[in-house]
Symmetry: C2
Subunit: 367 residues, 2 copies
């Protein structure tokens, strides 16, 4: 098996609530051009992954609300390679469905899975890292690419490695760690043997599916039946019957964490300029430009920011309008077609809560 | 002469920069429904003044950018009663033009002039006050209606009266005072003999024009010639020749202040719920509703405000969008079709400066 025979899976889901109101349930982060070019995150992900595989070996798993967006943004992707879930069942279902469909099409294939909404600046190093992970996968490991941490981030999970992480060296993952406190994250960073979990997985589909069957038959069994029916005239009926029974669970929790405890998970560190574009701070840091008094980023050339007597401002004008601020500091101001957000920078993590309040108030049009 | 023969003039100008981005050069404050109903300030002014006069005796003086807006908002106003200035020449030119046109049409008439963009809640008391001022005007005084002050406002000019202001009593205005410091304004308020100058004037047109001729022949002479040509086939030529020569000066400075020094100006206090709707604070105080954490006002039912964990917020969503704020306090947030403003409340007076910065940057579309 050569690297051109690698199968690549892109789960394209998640509404990116921390980027509300730019990212919406119906128009999520991965469909937006948050890349510094006019390509969306999904398109940039495709551009990065296409050289690793053949077009017929690249799959996107997405939900019904985004199938059209995915199809239009990736016109070269074969129709049969866009797997549309009837409704979201968390990452284990999405990844298992892709694995089972690939296993049916190419038994014993190596598959690699990468989120649709991350940004990577060093594509060559990324490709080299994936190749190393593919080697580990061929040896039967459940591989994950962990990101070399650059700061004591409390917003990510961590991989605890068996030794100090070294580029190119495959090593065991002893444990998956939940999002840590700042104190713990600082210790992780100093130790050199913790990596960020970016949900980048590489494995043989048969190895993964066997692991899933052993640990979560309640996921594996309906998914296997669905995959068997996929692309046949029974697909709709089987989906209608079985999809609602698939448990909602993250693949880390269902498979990777227990498998790591059994010594079956390994990692290679990734050091290729990764970002999950998780919040507006990151967006303006990576993609924005200095405006006096802060940084601004827009996806639309007809949108402008003017900051007067400001400091530490994060402005994202994306509604075709001028956003003008006067005498305010350390705020996030985001303008979109139908909603405007004004938020204190240190409350950015609570934007998700704001969207929940909107849902409670019945303002569903804005979600 | 009965009160139905009063001629009423409404100078409809000024761009209301303190209400930017709601109020614009091309769509100024007086054309907006800042009244608590769907009537604009201009229409509410018309509604308030129409009972004081006959339709053919009500004149609006406006500029070329607003002639169409005025014509459409006041369909009952006779065409010949919309006087369109070629370009703005400050209040003395506008008022003198109206006075001279009225004097030509009805020699010796009493005219009363009121801004197009003020709000008055007690219409009956307003009408009664105007009637008192008309009495004074018939006696040959240059009358002004001064507003009984309710706070030590530093944003207005004041009228210094000859004695403690009493409702219904006509008295001399000793002096026009410029915008005072807070200390001085507090003294004015305590004294009981100072009124706010709201540029409400009532006089016989022949008296005013004689005063203008005596003090500012450079204004009076071209205006008289223009008024003579008005409604004739020479109007355009005379305007083209003479309008550019008319000095730009406020009527207070050109006529009222020097006339007061000569004992020719008198006043009646007005106590009828007056507001100049001068800034967003006033707009939400008078017309807004409580939203948790602040007050909001909108002129459009499709616009909404959601304030989460906020305090003292002034939100004016008028762009058909949702404005959501999170964890911020004491800010003014204004959303319109093409611009968003985020401003500290205590910097509200500097919004005018912001518009100047926009002009300097060439952002003329937003002015």
């Amino acid at each position: 098996m050569t690297s051109t025979e690698l199968h690549v899976v892109v789960p394209a889901g998640g509404s990116g609530t921390r980027l509300w109101p730019l990212s919406r349930a119906a128009n999520p982060k991965f469909l937006h051009p948050l890349t510094g070019t006019d390509r969306s995150l999904l398109q940039a992900t495709y551009d990065r992954l296409a050289p690793l595989s053949r077009p017929e070996n690249l799959l996107v798993v997405t939900g019904t609300p985004h199938a059209v967006g995915v199809a239009r943004q990736l016109p070269d992707l074969p129709e049969r390679n866009i797997l549309v879930e009837p409704f979201a069942r968390d990452s284990c279902a999405a990844i298992a469905l892709a694995a089972a469909v690939i296993e049916r099409r190419s038994p014993g294939a190596v598959m690699a899975s990468f989120a649709a909404d991350h940004l990577i600046t060093d594509t060559d190093e990324f490709a080299a890292t994936v190749a190393r992970a593919v080697d580990g996968a061929r040896d039967g490991h459940l591989m994950t690419i962990g990101i070399t941490p650059t700061r004591p981030e409390t917003g990510y999970g961590y991989l605890c490695c068996s030794e100090t992480a070294q580029r190119s060296v495959i090593q065991k993952v002893l444990e998956f760690k939940e999002k840590p406190s700042l104190e713990v994250a600082t210790r992780y960073l100093a130790s050199g043997s913790y990596l960020w979990n970016a949900s980048m997985f590489v494995w043989r589909t048969d190895v993964f599916l066997a692991e899933l069957q052993a640990r979560r038959p309640d996921v594996a069994e309906p998914i296997t039946k669905i995959a068997t029916a996929w692309d046949t005239d029974t697909q709709q009926d089987v989906l209608a019957e079985l999809w609602p029974t698939v448990p909602k669970v993250a693949v880390e929790y269902a498979v990777m964490e227990p498998a790591a405890e059994d010594g079956k998970v390994a990692t290679v560190p990734g050091d290729f300029g990764w970002s999950d574009i998780g919040d507006f701070e990151t967006v303006v840091d990576l993609l924005g430009t200095d405006v006096g008094g802060g940084r601004a980023f827009t996806t639309r050339p007809d949108s402008k920011a003017v900051v007067v007597d400001g400091e530490g401002m994060v402005v994202v004008p994306s509604g075709g309008r001028l956003v003008a601020t006067l005498g305010v500091h350390d705020l996030i101001v985001v303008d979109t077609d139908d909603a405007v957000l004004v938020c204190r920078r240190d409350r950015a993590q609570d934007v998700k809560r704001l969207t929940e309040i909107l849902r409670d108030r019945g303002e569903l049009d804005y979600l």
